[in-house]
Amino acid sequence: MPSLNTIAFYLHRITGVILAIYLCMHLCFLTTVKTGQYSSLIKVTLSKQFLPFDLLLFLIGIYHGVNGIRLIIHEFGLLYRYRRVLLYSTFIITAVLWIIVALEVIM
């Protein structure tokens, strides 16, 4: 079983790749939309079938962002000795933010 440090590292990489692919797809999708068609096309992605994907995307984005901030803090030479606390905090903050965002979207 890999340690939490290693899990955090691989999750950061995987979520980064997923976000990059999503960004490319998102931009490609937007460039194909003709004037006046945006609202009807966006309705498709706002449907209930898309909700789990949206929630997953939020989770990926939030984790990548929060973990990114943790790494930036360390790379600025700060809080090395508290790296375990920061690592656990990353997962807790991600979960809390994701629950808040998910409730906001679902409600």
């Binding site: 079983m1 890999p2 340690s3 440090n5 290693t6 955090a8 590292f9 691989y10 950061h12 790494l71 360390h74 790379e75 600025f76 030479g77 090395y80 000795r81 790296r83």
Partner: protein, 219 residues
Amino acid sequence: MRFRIRRFDGEKSYWQEFDVPVKRGMTVLECLFYIKENLDPTLSFRASCRMGVCGSCAVRINGKPMLACETQAFRLKEPVKIEPLKNFNVIRDLVTDFEGFFKKHEIVKPYLIRRSEGEIRQTPEELKRYYIYTLCIKCGACMSACPVAKNCLGPMPVVSAYRFNEDSRDEGKEERLKILSDHIWHCHFVAECSEVCPKGIEPAEVIQKLRLEVLRRRW
């Protein structure tokens, strides 16, 4: 206790199991010696001082790089999986090739560079600044734990460079920082090197400190 050991005979790699009658106080290294002396004399592994000073017996125990001589067998989960260090080429069984490791070490000029001659005095405070880094025994545990060490310098040479940079007798800091400026950006702060170091050195911290020092310079 059951031991699962990753064997390599030069051609194929496979797992082999051994049952060792472990007594309280026995280290993993002693278990390896028991296997070699009583069960399979072909088992190969490195060992020398048996007291955590030489760094020869570093292997992966249940996936984590550790010194076999400092690991109590009773504290481990069964079956105890023993594998050679990662990021090193395996020569045979648990013996890995350290040539590349020491070549990487040479890159950072791990010795005192002096331009002036004469007696050099050092205060206890000056010694304290780098003393902890002199404890590195070059066991390779940090290199094995690092997910990017195979393609870059890795934690150990960076620690070594920092040790000499912080030494008040040394005059090669700028030279070393120039060399490091090409090598220290691969670190992703996984911090596994700091977690596994048997001497409690913090390579992850050192890398970040050196990055800041390099960034402050304009060559």
